[in-house]
Each structure stands twice: as C-alpha cells, then as structure tokens.
Symmetry: C2
Subunit: 407 residues, 2 copies
Amino acid sequence: MREITGGVTAAKGFQAAAAAAQIKYKDRTDMAMIYSEVPCVAAGTFTTNIVKAAPVKWDQDVVYHHEKAQVVVCNSGIANACTGAEGYGYCRQTADAAAAALDIPAESVLVASTGVIGMQIPIDRIADGVKAMAPRLSGTVEAGTEAAKAIMTTDTVKKEVAVEIEIGGRTVTIGGMCKGSGMIHPNMCTMLGFLTTDAAISKELLQKALSEDIKDTFNMVSVDGDTSTNDTVLLLANGMAGNPLIDQEGEDYEVFCKALNFINTTLSRKIAGDGEGATALFEVTILGAESKEQAVTLAKSVVTSSLTKAAIYGHDANWGRILCAMGYSGAQFDPEKVDLYFESAAGKIKIIENGVSTGYSEEEATKILSEEAVTAIADIKMGDCTATAWGCDLTYDYVKINADYRS
Amino acid sequence: MREITGGVTAAKGFQAAAAAAQIKYKDRTDMAMIYSEVPCVAAGTFTTNIVKAAPVKWDQDVVYHHEKAQVVVCNSGIANACTGAEGYGYCRQTADAAAAALDIPAESVLVASTGVIGMQIPIDRIADGVKAMAPRLSGTVEAGTEAAKAIMTTDTVKKEVAVEIEIGGRTVTIGGMCKGSGMIHPNMCTMLGFLTTDAAISKELLQKALSEDIKDTFNMVSVDGDTSTNDTVLLLANGMAGNPLIDQEGEDYEVFCKALNFINTTLSRKIAGDGEGATALFEVTILGAESKEQAVTLAKSVVTSSLTKAAIYGHDANWGRILCAMGYSGAQFDPEKVDLYFESAAGKIKIIENGVSTGYSEEEATKILSEEAVTAIADIKMGDCTATAWGCDLTYDYVKINADYRS
C-alpha cells in the first residue's frame, strides 16, 4: 500500500468540480460535484439520528434500491434537515438538474448537504451551481482539492487522502475527502465523507467493507457528542482499475479492506484534530479489554468527557477525570487494576498503576500533553481486545464558534 | 407547605459547624459538620460510577447496614477517590475522631468528600478540623449557612433551602444544603447533598421517599455529562417534630414526599443555575411522551447537548440543535409532529410546529433567551407523560475553570 497525492479524483475515471453558488457564503465555493466516467456500484452509511436530513433519505433510496450511481452533488451552506416534504422535493430537483446536465438517470445522482438546520435551500441557486459545475469536471488532483475545499463549513483545513494497492496484478486506487468539525459524534456512520475507487468489486462486498470499517474509524470519532442529522459516507467503485472482480471474501478483499481502513482512519484523525476550536487531537486507546464492545464503550466515554477534554486543553495530567469517565461509561472493570499512560511525540509516561498514582513527574506529563496530538492509553488487564477513539480538546473557541454559529 | 429561612439546621435538634482545616484552600472554610442531638434514621443515594470514592463506600455501609446515624463530616478540598485501601482507612479514622469528640459510635458517623481525585487526604488536619468543630456546633440559621459555604468547591453561591409542613397536627421541618457545579451528571443519585428533617419516619420509608424523589430531581440535572465518583445525598430524620411515626404509605407520607420534592427540586435548580461558568439556567421540558422513560431520555439528551448549550449561551434560538439532540437520544418519536417553545420571564414563543419553523421573530426569541433562566418545551404528541431536566449554558468560563482546575 502506497499513499499518493490527491483525494476523490485519484482513482481512474473520477472527476470533480466546485462552484460558488452563494448558498450561504459570499466569498468562497460552497458546492462540489464528484463524477465517474462510468456508472459505479455505491455503498453508503448514514446517520442513526431519527431526525434525518432530506438528502440522507434520498441517498438511502439510491444506495439501497438502485444498482448504480454516477455523481454526487454537495452543498455546504444549508443542511436541508427538518425541512419536511418541501426539502425532500429539492433533493429530487437537484438530481433532475444533474441528470439533465450530465445525461444520466436521476436515480444515479447522490446528493449531500451540510450547514444550518431548518432552513430551506434556494433551489434555483443549487440548480445553477449544478449547471456551472458539469462542464468544468476534471480528473486532476487540483479539481479534487477544490471539491474538498468547497464542502468545508467550520473546518479549518481540507481533508483528503489517497492510496494505491495491487490487486490481481493491477494497480487499484482508493481516494477520499470529508468534512466535519462540529456536531461530530458519528453513530453507525459519520459526517460527510466521499470515497472513490477504481476497484472492480461487487456492490454487496463494497457495502460490507464500508459498514465494517466505519465501526473502527468514523464511528470512533467524537468532537462534541452531538450526532448530526446529515452524517453520510458514500463509497463509489467504478471498476476502471481492471482488477479481477472482487465478488467474494479472500485475499483481494482483505487488501482492499486494509487500504479502505487506512483511508478512513486518516480521514477520522483529520476530523478529530480539526474539531471546532481544537488545539489538539486527543486519541484514547483501551488495552486488555474482555470484548471489543467493552473497549469501544470505555474509549468513547473518555474521548467525549467534557472535563477530560478541558484538562487536555490545559495540558493537565488530570487522570482522575479519565478514570471517572471510564467508571460512568456503563462498562464493567476493576478500577484498582487500571494502568494509565500518556503518550505523544514528546514521550510516554505511566501515570497510574493498579488504579493509584505512580508519583510521576507533573512537569514531564505536561510536556507530553503539550503536543498537537496526545494519546491516553488505559490497560484494564482483563483480556486481549482493544479500541481507539479520536477526539479533541475543549476550548474557548469551541464555545465561541457555537454561540455565534447562525449570526 | 411554607418555605422558611435556613438549611440543615432548620429542623429541630440539628446543629452545624464549619472549620478552616487547610485541606486545599488557604483562605476559607473547607470542612463542615452536621449533627443531630439524638440518633437519626438515615437514607442515602450514591453515585452509580463504578469508580466510587472511599467515603461513598463508607457511607453505603453505614446507611445500608446500621440502624442509626448521628453526624456527617465533610471536607471540600480532596475527593478521597482513587485512593485505595489507604483512602478507606482515612474514612475510618475520620469517623473515629468524630466518635471520640462527640461520644457517639463510629458507625453512626457519615463522611463525605469533594475535590481533587487521586490525592490522599491529610488525615491529621481532618482530625484537627473534627476536634475544632465539635464544640462549636450550633442550631442557628447562621451555623447552617456556614456549613453550606464550607462545602463549596467551584460553586459561586451557597445552596440551601428549608420548608415547614404539618403532619398529624405537628410542624415538621425539612431542610437541606448541597454543593455541585462541575462533574455534574448525577445518575441514580447526585453531587453532595445533605438533608435533615425532624419528621418521625421509618428508615424504610425514608429511603423509599429519597430514592423515588431523586429520579425527578437530582438525577435530572446535568452540567457537563460527567458522573462524579463522589455523588452522595444523605437524608437524616431525628423524629423530634413529634408527629405520629410515618411507617406506612398514606396521607402523611405523601405530604412528606411533596415537601421533600420541593427541597430537592429547589436544590437541583440551584446546582444547574450555578453550573461551572454558567450564565443561565437551562430547563428542558418534554410534553406528550408515551412513557416517563421516553420523556426523561429526550429531556436529558437536549440538556446535555454541547451545541445546544453553546447556542443558549449565544441567546440563539438554534432549534435545529434541539431537534437533533432529541433525534440521537435513542428514544423513538416522529420529528414531523414536534412542537417546540422557548419560555422565560420575558415571554413564551412557539418556534416550530409539526417539525418545521413557524416563521417566528428571531428578535423576540433572542429576547426570551437572554434571561437568566430559560426553558425549552417540546411536545411530541404521543401521550401524557412529561419530564423536566435542568442544565446550564456552555461558556468560555467552563473551559477556563476546567483547564486550570488543578493548578
């Protein structure tokens, strides 16, 4: 596996474009289009929030009930959530506009939205944006990057990644981009993520690979504990790499899954590290769990603890808050057997052993916690299962961004 | 029922004292004692965090396995949590010191701690504090207030309340005090709360009354979603009011429960409104639920949503975040049937009807949300059950307090 430059346009046959459609922002692009030269099999995972945005409902229909998809149209100004039948109608009109512009069926158009909840989208400007983007589609790295920038909301950096793998003697590429910074606590799914691959793979295995992988990647990210109404990850595979079709589990499928995991882990860490207002990526690893579920519960409880996140912001080795968050997680363990470490580029330190302080150096701990990415590792000594969750620190700027969001 | 001045010393036969024992703070009192002239029946509810502080374990033994209790000793400098066998030994030594100073059995001494997790308490200073407080015990309102001040940590105001009721022709008093500002998300229990009454009531019914009531009061409070290791509510009843013993459910028991509910609701609102860094008390009421459990789940999900809390700080009627938090709560409902209102001293406004915006005035909504206590009311139109939860807004100061807590 080899990481390469690029994102959604890295795989063969994928093109992208962006437009400044004036949906919300006046001075930047706010629409993106991802297009495959040939129809793709598509997999998707979606928010478990029962308040689902209209585009989530639209895409679920396309992914679950249609064989092929060929284009994704996204706007980053208005979420089109809590907009009733009118909002769902705008998804159809967006798909119709793209179908007309690209001469493809409306049922092969996926739509995605992110932004303010509760407002209706200005469908004329969306349709104009679609018309403007279609003739500008390009397979260059730059076109992919422009699309990655256009889907940002409170994100401070664009998020894309791509890798090459070998399958059946052919080079297969997987690339992806995502956005997400606040209202991030994906459950069975995530923020907005768009993944493209030229692998030849059956629709069934594509969905299986994605559904399995997000449990360890996007579902392990939390910025603020708020599961969005719009969470969507789409994975399009157009088969243009020419590898033997992956239609059963085996070595080729494993290679594909491993590359997909790299893509999703990289994007997950990018989201967590760019959490609203964050100054640090906060990674929590649980070791020695009896079951995967127990490890996941403990890791997520720590990574979402407001008190722990504020302590990370303060570079404070306040381990009591970590043990406390493990304790109220609902998972069973013996607090008096826990070992806890902090680790970063500046080193690794054992903070507690069997539930009590090791008498560690606060100075050294603070140094380790002052890096841009810090990890807490808790060993509960019950078994061999592990899990890692990603989050960020809680800062003044998180409050500022979210007290002012609509104004 | 009549509210009166005072707190833990309001009921007949209860005395209190405070001391500056230098446990953590150098310039204020940090220990409190509550004493009854005669032995009491005692009820208690405790944290469900599996990381339980040593005093929680000690008090559980006293409440569950002994008939009577007579004194509570509290320090507000160090939590005595995650301190192993050594920490539990200090509970025993604290009880021994109080037993010697007051000439009562050590098994009738309740202990409570709040403060930093993971440090051992300086037992000599605790013992000196106990010795200093015993001769200073007093039944005045002022002595109760001094005790309420001594148990504060990041609290900005002391929290006490008292009421009088009539039972069997006798005046019965219930009073209480509590502390709590951060790490507040009580589960089956709460922060530190100390309630006293001169009612004559059986130990069994006293525990039942308390256990039932906290479900609707302290358990509905959340400042930051972090369930503490030290949550404890103790209720002591010494029988000195001379009412006919309440030893079965019936009218007298109902009168007692109603007064207890007033005490606990008042203290719960005081904790939420004084949440760390808070500028506003945020109350969430769910109407029209099918079951109490559903209403509780929805109310707690909204009141703990970081995004909603930040919007309340910004006086922003960001109703999408409220509907979103209801949607990811795990409770089932139809988003397209929800009506939502904001209410405060400045008025009441309907924000959404059947899941979509009413086209309300943002200006009027902002005015309503600019008060010190604001309520969101969601009607899900499925049944007759309701629940109310209390929290606060999320502010810069919450982050500041918790990034700097140990330094």
